[in-house]
C-alpha cells in the first residue's frame, strides 16, 4: 500500500506500546496542569478567597467540620441562621463537599502538612477539575479510543462552560459534582460493557457520593434508567444490562437513602420513580428472556412479550395512581419548573428571581463551548454510525442535556461534558482519517459514501457481542499498527469501528492532509485562545471583591463588602441580629459572623416574605416587624454612587413580589410603579416607593453628598430628589467607602413611651400641636 509520508519502521511493537502509554500519561498530566492552571486566574488577579454567596456557607460548614469533627457537623444546629427559627444544618445540606475537604484536611494534617482549611476549599474545585478531565478521558475511551479520550479530556479541561463553576474559590457542590457525574457514567458504561457486578457496585458507590454531593444527582437517577429503557426497547436486553442495572439500583438506592437530606425520597418522590419502574421492568424482561431461552414456541413468546409490555404499562398506571393518592410525592417545584417553564415565575418567585435560573440565549452557548458546540452534532452522528450501547447513552445524554441547558443557564454545566465527549469523537475521527498515511489504491471502484454506511449499521441483535469485543480488538489493532507506524500509532491506535465492511477508504496526497490538519489545528488554537480570554475576563471575579480600572490603567479594588462585614464583626455585639435581603445571608454569616434573618438557603418563604415586607413598607409598619424579630442592624446594598448595578433597589421588585405573595392586601407591586408604569426613584417615584424602608435607607443623605449639585443615581441614571428621605426609626450606623454597603441600626423604644416619630421631632425642638383631651371627657350636660 502506498504511503502519503514515510514512517520510521525500525521500532519494536513493545517500544511503540510503551512510548504511546508514556505519551498518554504525560499528555494527561499536562492536561490536568492546564485545567488547574487556567482556574487560578481568580487567585492571581485577586487573592485566595471564597467567591460568590453559597460557597461562603459551604466554607463555614467545612470549618465546623474540620474543627469540631464529623458528628458535631452532622448534629450542627445553626442558631445564627434564620433567626429565630434556626436551621438544622446536618439534615438540610448535601454533605459531600464538606466531607471531601474535611477528609483532605485531616489527611494533610496527619502528614504534618498544616494547610489552612481556606486554601483547601479554594483549591478544591481546580483539583477536581483535573480529575474530571481524567474521568472524561476514561469515558471517551470507552466511546472511541484513547486519542479521542485525550482530546475530550483537553476540551473539558479548559471549556469555559465548566470553568465557570469551578474556578479557584467557587467552592460549590458543582465543583466535585461534575467529576462524580462523569465517573459514575464511566463506571456505568464499563459495567454495561463487561456486565461485571464489581463495576455495577462502583457505579452505585459513586452514585452515592454524587447523591451526597449535589442535588443534581436526579440527573443520573433518570439518565441511567432512560438508557436502560431505550436499550430494552431497542431489543438490546442482555444479562450484562441486567447485572449492571440491578446492582447499581439496589446498592445505589440503599446507599443514597443514608444521606439525611435525601432520606426516603428515593421511594417516595416522582423524580426517582423512573429508576424504580425500569428496575421492575428489567426483572420482568429478564424473566421473559429466561423463559424464552427455555421454551421455543414463537407464538408463546409473542404473547409473553405482549404481557411484559402490558405489565410495564400497568406499572405506569399504578405509579400514576399512587401519585394521585399522594403516597408518592409529585414533582418538586424546582424539578417541575424544568418542564413547565412558566411555572416558577408564577408559583415560586424565589426560584425565578435567581439569575442563574434564566433561560439561555445562544451567545452564552457559544461563549461557553465555542467550536465544540457545532462539532457536537457531528459527534452525535458518528455515535449513530456505530451504534453500540454506550453510544446510545451518549445520544440520550446529548438530547436531554441540550434541552435542560436551553431552559436554565446553570444546567449548561451538565451539557458541557457530553459536548466535549461528542466533539472529541468527531474531531479525533477527523484526525484519524487525515493523519493515517495509508493511501488507498486508485483502482478501487468508486462508491457513494451513503451506501458505504448501510453495512456500517449492523443489525441491533449482534451489536452487543461486537461491542463487547471492541476493546480487545482495539488493543490488537494498536499493536498491529504500531508495528508499521511509529509515533503516529498513539493516535492511530484502534481506528477500526466494529463490524465495518472492508471498503477501500483513505485520502490521496499530502496537501489535502496538510490543509485539513492545519485547519483543525488552527481551530484548536483558536479554542485555547478563546477559553483563556473568557476565563480570565468573565469567570474569574469573586463577586465579593469588585475590580475597576484606575485612570492610569492599574487595577483598583473595591472592597466595600468586606469592609462593612468586618466592621460588623469587630464593632457590634456578638449576638446582634442583622437583617438583609437573602442574597447576603451567607456572606454575613461567613464574614461578619452575626445572626441573620434569611439567607441563600431559601427554605422558608414566609420568613423571606417577612423581610421583603419590612423592606417594602413604610417605617412605622416595618418597625414592629423589626422589633419582633429582635433586629439590631439592617444591611442594604446600594450601588447608586459608583454604579454597581447588582444592588437592592434593582432587586427591590422581587422583594415586593415575594411579600405580595403572602400579604396581597398590604403589598401590591403596581403601587411601586409610577402612573405610567415606570420604575423610578426620582421625584416622580411612586409614593409607596418613596415611603418604603428600602428606598429611604438607600438614598438617606445621598443627595447631600453632592452638595448643591443634582445627585444622580449612577445605576438608574436618574436624578434623586434634592431633599433626601428622613429616618425616624433607624439610625445610620455605618456606610462603606463607596457607599455600596449601608448598615442601619434599629432604635430602641422611646423612654417616654412616645412613638419615635414624635420623639424625634421633639428632640429636634419642633413644636407639637397641642393634643386634645380624650373624647370620653366630652361635656356632660
Amino acid at each position: 500500500m502506498p504511503l502519503a509520508y514515510t514512517l520510521p519502521s525500525n521500532l519494536s511493537p513493545a517500544t511503540v506500546a510503551n512510548t504511546s502509554s508514556l505519551l498518554r500519561i504525560v499528555a494527561l498530566a499536562l492536561i490536568s496542569g492546564a485545567a488547574i492552571a487556567s482556574r487560578l486566574f481568580a487567585v492571581v488577579n485577586f487573592e485566595s478567597i471564597i467567591h460568590e454567596f453559597d460557597p461562603w456557607f459551604n466554607y463555614r460548614a467545612t470549618r465546623v467540620l474540620a474543627e469540631k469533627g464529623f458528628y458535631a457537623f452532622w448534629n450542627w444546629f445553626d442558631h445564627t441562621a434564620w433567626y429565630p427559627l434556626g436551621r438544622v444544618v446536618g439534615g438540610t445540606i448535601y454533605p459531600g463537599l464538606m466531607a471531601t475537604s474535611g477528609v483532605i484536611y485531616n489527611v494533610l494534617h496527619a502528614l504534618n502538612l498544616p494547610v489552612d482549611i481556606r486554601n483547601i476549599c479554594v483549591l478544591l474545585a481546580p483539583g477536581f477539575s483535573a480529575l474530571t478531565a481524567w474521568s472524561t478521558y476514561m469515558f471517551t475511551k470507552e466511546m472511541k479510543d484513547e486519542s479521542a479520550g485525550l482530546l475530550a479530556a483537553a476540551f473539558i479541561g479548559i471549556a469555559p462552560g465548566y470553568i465557570s463553576r469551578s474556578v479557584a474559590g467557587s467552592y460549590d457542590n458543582e465543583a466535585i459534582a461534575i467529576f462524580l457525574l462523569m465517573f459514575t457514567f464511566y463506571c456505568w458504561i464499563k459495567a454495561l460493557k463487561t456486565g461485571s457486578v464489581l463495576f455495577g457496585t462502583l457505579t452505585a458507590l459513586f452514585y452515592f457520593y454524587m447523591v451526597a454531593a449535589w442535588g443534581g444527582y436526579a440527573f443520573i437517577t433518570n439518565m441511567i434508567p432512560l438508557h436502560a429503557l431505550t436499550l430494552i426497547l431497542m431489543g438490546r436486553f442482555s444479562s450484562r444490562l441486567y447485572t449492571a442495572y440491578s446492582s447499581w439500583y439496589a446498592i445505589g438506592t440503599l446507599a443514597s437513602m443514608q444521606v439525611p437530606f435525601v432520606g426516603f425520597q428515593p421511594v417516595r418522590t416522582s423524580e426517582h420513580m423512573a429508576a424504580l419502574g425500569v428496575f421492575g421492568l428489567l426483572q420482568i424482561v429478564a424473566f421473559a428472556e429466561l423463559v424464552r431461552a427455555h421454551v421455543s414456541s414463537r407464538h408463546f413468546q409473542s404473547i409473553l412479550f405482549g404481557s411484559v409490555i402490558g405489565i410495564g404499562v400497568l406499572g405506569v398506571f399504578a405509579f400514576a395512581g399512587l401519585t394521585y393518592k399522594g403516597w408518592i410525592a409529585p414533582w418538586t417545584g424546582r424539578f417541575y419548573s424544568l418542564w413547565d417553564t412558566g411555572y416558577a415565575k408564577k408559583y415560586i418567585p424565589i426560584i425565578a428571581s435567581v439569575s442563574e435560573h434564566q433561560p439561555t440565549a445562544w451567545p452564552s452557548f457559544f461563549m461557553d463551548l465555542q467550536f465544540l458546540i457545532f462539532l457536537f452534532p457531528a459527534g452525535v452522528i458518528l455515535c449513530f454510525r456505530e451504534l453500540r450501547d454506550e453510544h446510545v447513552f451518549v445520544i440520550i445524554y446529548a438530547v436531554v442535556a441540550s434541552y435542560f441547558a436551553g431552559v436554565m443557564v446553570r444546567l449548561m454545566l451538565t451539557l458541557t461534558p457530553v459536548v466535549c465527549v461528542a466533539a472529541a469523537v468527531a474531531f479525533s475521527s477527523l484526525l484519524d482519517t487525515y493523519i493515517d498515511p495509508v493511501e488507498p489504491d486508485v483502482l478501487a471502484p468508486s462508491t457513494q459514501a451513503t451506501e458505504a454506511e448501510v453495512p456500517a449499521g449492523d443489525s441491533p441483535a449482534n451489536a452487543p457481542s461486537g461491542s463487547a469485543t471492541t476493546s480487545k480488538k482495539a488493543k490488537k489493532a494498536a499493536a498491529a499498527d504500531a508495528s508499521s507506524s511509529g509515533l503516529a500509532s498513539g493516535v492511530l491506535a484502534a481506528m477500526s469501528p466494529s463490524g465495518k465492511s472492508a471498503k477501500p477508504r483513505g485520502i490521496f496526497g499530502l496537501d489535502t492532509r496538510i490543509v485539513v490538519i492545519a485547519n483543525a489545528l488552527g481551530m484548536l488554537l483558536f479554542f485555547v485562545l478563546h477559553c483563556t480570554y473568557v476565563t480570565s475576563s468573565a469567570y474569574s471575579s469573586p463577586s465579593v471583591v469588585l475590580a475597576s480600572q484606575n485612570p492610569d490603567g492599574s487595577q483598583h479594588i473595591i472592597d466595600d463588602f468586606r469592609e462593612a462585614y468586618y466592621w460588623l464583626r469587630q464593632n457590634t455585639p456578638q449576638d446582634a441580629v442583622v437583617m438583609s435581603w437573602w442574597d447576603y445571608g451567607y456572606q454575613i454569616a461567613g464574614m461578619a459572623d452575626r445572626p441573620t434573618l434569611v439567607d441563600n438557603n431559601t427554605w422558608n418563604n414566609t420568613h423571606i416574605a417577612t423581610v421583603g415586607k419590612a423592606m417594602s413598607s413604610p417605617e412605622e409598619v416595618a418597625y414592629p416587624i423589626l422589633r419582633k424579630h429582635d433586629v439590631d442592624y439592617v444591611l442594604i446594598i446600594f450601588g447608586g454612587l459608583i454604579g454597581y448595578s447588582g444592588d437592592d433597589i434593582n432587586k427591590f421588585l422581587w422583594m415586593v413580589r415575594i411579600a405580595q405573595g403572602v400579604w396581597p392586601e398590604e403589598i401590591q407591586e403596581p403601587n411601586y410603579f409610577t402612573a405610567k408604569g415606570e420604575y423610578r426613584v426620582d421625584d416622580q417615584a411612586a409614593p409607596a416607593m418613596k415611603n418604603s424602608l428600602m428606598y429611604k435607607m438607600s438614598y438617606y443623605r445621598f443627595a447631600e453628598l453632592y452638595g448643591g449639585n443634582s445627585a444622580v443615581d449612577r445605576v438608574r441614571g436618574q436624578q434623586v430628589p434634592k431633599t433626601g428621605p428622613t429616618l425616624d426609626y433607624l439610625d445610620e450606623a455605618f456606610t462603606s467607602e463607596n457607599w455600596i454597603v449601608r448598615i442601619y441600626q434599629v432604635k430602641k423604644e422611646d423612654l417616654l413611651g412616645r412613638d419615635l416619630k414624635t420623639a424625634n421631632s421633639f428632640d429636634q425642638g419642633k413644636k407639637r400641636k397641642k393634643s386634645k383631651p380624650l373624647a370620653r371627657r366630652k361635656a356632660v350636660v
Partner: protein, 318 residues
C-alpha cells in the same frame, strides 16, 4: 320580564347615587346583574351606584376600551376571560352572589368615570371592598384594590385572585378544549393504524439521528430562550439580531442553527464521505471545498458573535 331592568337602566341617570340609600342601590345592582348574566355594563351613574359610600357589597370593576377605534389589543385579550369569570360567578346561590358584583366600564360609555379616576391605561381591574357590614375589611380600606396583571390575562389566575375578595371562591372552571383532545386522539389513532408504514422509519437509526441532531441544534441555538421569554421573531424596523449578550430574537435561532448544521455537516463530509471518494482529483476538490466552507462559516459565526458581544477581541476573515 326583561322590561324591569330596562326601566331600572332608564331610571338610573335621573337618580344620583349618593342621594339614594344603599338598599335601593343594591336592589338596582342585583337587577342589572341579573339582566346581563352576572356582568353589569357600567356608565358614570351606575358606577357611582356600584361604589356607593355605604355599600355592603364588594365589586370588581373592569375598565376597558373595546371599541376598535381605541386600538386596545390587551383589552380584547382580557375581556373574554373576565366575562367568563363573571358568568361563572352567576352560578353561585343568590345569597352570596348578590354580595359581589362584576362590572365592565367601557371607555366610550363611562368617559366621566375614566376622567374622574384619571385613568391612562386599559384594561384596569379594580376591586372595591365593602364599606359597611360584616365583610368590611379590618383595615377599613375603601380605596379600590388594583388587580395585578403580572400573571397574565388568563381567566384561571384571575378567578383565583378575585376569590380572595368574594364571600365564596368563584366556581370558575376552564372550559374543556374538546378540539384539542379530539385532534390528539385522532392523531394517535391514525398513528396506530399506520404504524406498520412508519415502522421502517422508526427502525432506521438515521431517522432518529436526524431528529435528535435537529433537536439539539435548535436547543443549543437558544430556542427555549425565545419560547420562554416570548421573544418576537424579529425586532421592530426589521432588525433580526437582538442587541445585547443575554438576548436574542426568533430568527437568530434559525440562522445560528443553520450555521451550526452547516459546520457540523462539513466535518462529517470530511470524515465520512470524502475518504470513500476513490477518484483522487474529486476527493482533493471535496477536501478543499469543505475545508473552505468550514473556515468561512466559522468566521461568519464569529462575526455574528462579535455583534452580540462587542467586547469579544478575536475575529477571523470578517
Amino acid at each position: 320580564m326583561l322590561l324591569l331592568p330596562l326601566l331600572a337602566l332608564l331610571s338610573l341617570p335621573f337618580c344620583l347615587a349618593a342621594s339614594i340609600s344603599a338598599e335601593d342601590a343594591h336592589q338596582k345592582l342585583v337587577k342589572l346583574a341579573a339582566a346581563n348574566n352576572g356582568l353589569i355594563k357600567l356608565d358614570d351613574s351606575s358606577y357611582n351606584l356600584l361604589t356607593h359610600p355605604k355599600r355592603t357589597w364588594s365589586s370588581s370593576i373592569h375598565f376597558t376600551a373595546l371599541d376598535p377605534r381605541r386600538r386596545c389589543a390587551p383589552c380584547k385579550e382580557f375581556d373574554p376571560s373576565f366575562t367568563a369569570v363573571a358568568k361563572s360567578w352567576s352560578q353561585v346561590p343568590a345569597s352570596e352572589r348578590d354580595t359581589h358584583f362584576f362590572a365592565t366600564a367601557d371607555f366610550d360609555n363611562a368617559m366621566g368615570t375614566f376622567q374622574k379616576l384619571g385613568m391612562q391605561t386599559a384594561p384596569v381591574l379594580h376591586v372595591h371592598l365593602p364599606a359597611e357590614g360584616s365583610r368590611r375589611p379590618a383595615s377599613g380600606r375603601t380605596a379600590p384594590i388594583v388587580y395585578d396583571f403580572s400573571n397574565g390575562f388568563d381567566a384561571g389566575p384571575l378567578a383565583e385572585q378575585l376569590s380572595q375578595y368574594t364571600p365564596v371562591p368563584i366556581p370558575y372552571k376552564a372550559p374543556i378544549d374538546w378540539s384539542k383532545y379530539g385532534t390528539a386522539a385522532g392523531v394517535t389513532l391514525i398513528f396506530l393504524s399506520t404504524v406498520r408504514l412508519f415502522l421502517p422509519i422508526l427502525r432506521s437509526r438515521w431517522a432518529w439521528a436526524i431528529g435528535i441532531v435537529l433537536t439539539s441544534l435548535v436547543m443549543t441555538s437558544g430556542f427555549m430562550f425565545v419560547r420562554i421569554r416570548g421573544m418576537p421573531n424579529s425586532g421592530a424596523n426589521g432588525q433580526w439580531i437582538a442587541p445585547g449578550y443575554q438576548n436574542q430574537f426568533g430568527q437568530e435561532v434559525q440562522v445560528v442553527s443553520f450555521v451550526y448544521g452547516l459546520l457540523a455537516s462539513g466535518f462529517l463530509m470530511l470524515t465520512l464521505v470524502t475518504p470513500y471518494q476513490t477518484n483522487p482529483y474529486r476527493q482533493r476538490l471535496q477536501v478543499y471545498l469543505w475545508s473552505g466552507v468550514i473556515f468561512v462559516m466559522f468566521s461568519v459565526l464569529i462575526s455574528l458573535f462579535r455583534v452580540k458581544n462587542r467586547s469579544y477581541p478575536f475575529k477571523l476573515l470578517l
